[in-house]
Every structure is written in C-alpha cells, then in structure tokens.
Subunit: 222 residues, 2 copies
C-alpha cells in the first residue's frame, strides 16, 4: 500500500473504532448482547439465525441487522420468523462498518436482549471492522474445507467463537473436524467451538446455551 492509502485506511479504522466503542457502551448498558456473525458467502449465517430465532424467541427478545451487498432477501427470511430485522445493503462495499449499525440502533427496541448482526459474506474484510459487538462469531461451513482457519487467520484470531456449520454434509466431505479445531485453536486458544447443523439441529442447544450464558454474564456486570 502507498503511504496515502495507509493514512486513509488508518483514518477509516480510527473513526470506526470510536463509533464501535459508543455502540458497545450503549448496548451493554441496556443489557443487550450484540453478536457479529462473520463468514464466507453461503456458509449458512441466515439459516443459523432462523434456527436461533425459533429457539431463542420463546425465552428472549431479539432483533437482527442483516448486511448484504444487494437484495433484501435475508431480512425477509428473518422477519418470516417473527423477529424484527433491518437490512443494510452496502451497494458494493465488502463489509459492514460501525456507522451503519449506529444509524439503525435508534430504531431497535431498547428492551431487546439480543442483537444479532449478520455481516456481508466475506471471510476477509469484515474481520478488520469492530461493529461494537460483545461477541464475534466466525462461521466455517464444512464444504469450505478444514484448511480455512490458517488461510484466513484474522477472522479466527479476532473471534470469540467458531461455529462449524452444515455438519449434516460431513459424511460426503473430506472435512477433518479435529484438524479444523486444532488449527483454529493454534491461532486463538480462547476460541469456543461449536459443530452445528441448521438442518438436523445438531449443536444448536449448546450454541443457544452459550448465547444465554454470555448475556447473563453481561447483565451481571452491567
């Protein structure tokens, strides 16, 4: 990168960090657990959020912010589950930024317990942008291959949890779950790891428990 490019990027990230800190302060003060979902396109972020909505809705209030380059499809899928959802279409931009979340936040019911943010499908750029989340979760779908943590490290080093998705396809794939876990933990020893399938429900109880426990911890300290 040229010197000018580095300076502009530092400006963008600096401003983003400041807005993200304000979002974190505001949401945590209200007891809202904010979760940022990162992954490649088609790793199953929306399908997982649909299942989370089904399981979490009877016991907690949630809202979803959907990030996409084009189309309103994802927000519509979440609204069909009876959960309020906002769609951000970035019109080409490859990641969400904190200011985009900041604009929507005043519209979100301040009494929600959980605010899930589905980032643009991109395993690279979103990792550099703090959205003010309390938890960052990277999804890795089993068809993508067990070598992805080492190849796209930043999404894994900056996350609190790695959610392996589409476990139902494992019988048809060369994906080595233990290798993926081992290499992800080498990058980030604190990573919580979940093996899930939105289709069969595998691993979803553990994941919901993790979100509920994370929120209890937040409200205990709030």
């Amino acid at each position: 990168m040229s010197k000018k490019e580095v300076i502009v990027l530092q400006d963008i990230l600096g401003t983003n960090k400041k807005i993200a800190a304000e979002i974190r302060e505001k949401t945590e003060r209200r007891g809202i657990l904010t979760v940022n979902f990162l992954s490649s396109p088609g790793a199953g972020k929306t399908a997982l959020l649909e299942k989370i909505a089904e399981r979490l809705k009877p016991q907690a209030k949630m809202a979803v912010i959907e990030g996409d380059i084009e189309t309103e499809r994802d927000a519509e899928r979440i609204r069909a589950k009876g959960v309020p959802a906002w769609q951000i279409t970035t019109g080409g931009a490859c990641h969400l930024e904190a200011k985009m979340i900041g604009k929507i936040l005043p519209e979100v019911d301040p009494d929600v317990d959980f605010l899930f943010i589905e980032n643009v499908g991109n395993l690279v750029c979103p990792a550099s942008y703090d959205l003010g989340e309390r938890l960052r979760c990277v999804l890795l779908s089993t068809p993508e291959g067990d070598d992805k943590p080492k190849k796209y490290p930043k999404a894994f080093t900056t996350s609190d949890a790695m959610i392996l998705t589409k476990a139902d396809l494992l019988p048809h794939l060369p994906f080595d779950v233990e290798k993926a876990k081992k290499e992800a933990l080498e990058l980030n020893p604190k990573l919580k790891i979940f093996l899930t399938s939105a289709l069969t429900g595998r691993g979803l109880d553990e994941l919901i428990d993790f979100f509920l426990a994370s929120r209890r911890e937040l409200t205990r300290h709030a």
Copy 2:
C-alpha cells in the same frame, strides 16, 4: 465513502487498470491465455486447477499464480502436479492487484500456452481488480446456495464464465441449478456456464474444450 476515500480508491483502480492493460498486451502478444479464477473461500479453485493441470498438461504448457492471504499450501498442491506455480501471499489484503502479477510475469516461461491465476478467496473485492486476464471465471460451489449471483453481482457481471463446482454434492443440497443459471444469465447474458465436479470429473471435458477454444481464438487474432 468520504471524498478523500473515493479519490484514493480511484487512484488505486486507475493505476491497476494501466498495469493490467500492459500485462494483457504482453501475454496476448505471446499467445498466452490468461485466466483469472474468482470465488468465495473453499469453492474449490485449487481442486479444479489440479484437475485442469492433469488434463491440460499432456497437450499444452501451463503455469499458475496462486493468491492467498497466508500459507503456501495452494502452490505446493499445483507443483505436485508437475506444473510451475508461484504463490503470492498478500499478508492480509483481500484481493490480488495487477502489480503483483506484473512482478511475477518475468519469471513465467514465455512459451506457456495458459497462465491461470487463482485469486484470494473472496467473492467481493477481487471483482474490482483487472489483472490483465483474457478470461475471468467465477466459481460458485453448490453448497454456497443458488442465490449467490444476485447477492454478489459484480463477480458475475464482470466474468466470462460461471463454473458451478462440487456438483457431486447436489443430491444432498437444496441447490437449484436452473435457478442459479437463470439468475446469473439475467445479470450477464453472455456468461458461459459449466456444471462441474473435481471429484467425479463431471463437466471437465467441456471446460477444457472452452479453454482450448479460447486460446485458439486468441492466437488466431494475435
């Protein structure tokens, strides 16, 4: 984006375009068909290149440039097929740029018939960077879902071919091949479409024929 950001981006893209034009002129004059492979992480770019190497090597000379954020793994896989390969590790950057290709080009045997470039696994950013290629191919793996062309349009509108990969998984997936084709063609009516599996070999003959025919057309005009 701020005005300053827009100006810097225009500078980057302008410089990139100039270098890309030089690369195109140089390679096409030598009769080298340059192909830029774009896709999400784990769509099977390297697996497809391994199969292309097996089938093309007996009848043509080829070389591969691999783009990755970290690790040399992909170039090693290609070299294991007896094909010269260069690894670019971008160290965080989310796409290849023409200047990176320009640096390697003097090392590539000027007598090769095909130069394949595997971009960083990212369905968004690489679409904005011309690498001087003659053909751009976007890979869409069936597990990613048939809705991806409309959600990530630029990779599809700027490509010459869409290669659907992992067709062997179709019996286990809700992927609708006709819907994916239809939506991709709505975005780009000139798109050539191939349905392939590196595992079973499905569609690879048609793909190899396409590359060979594209090279014949290039050398006819050169």
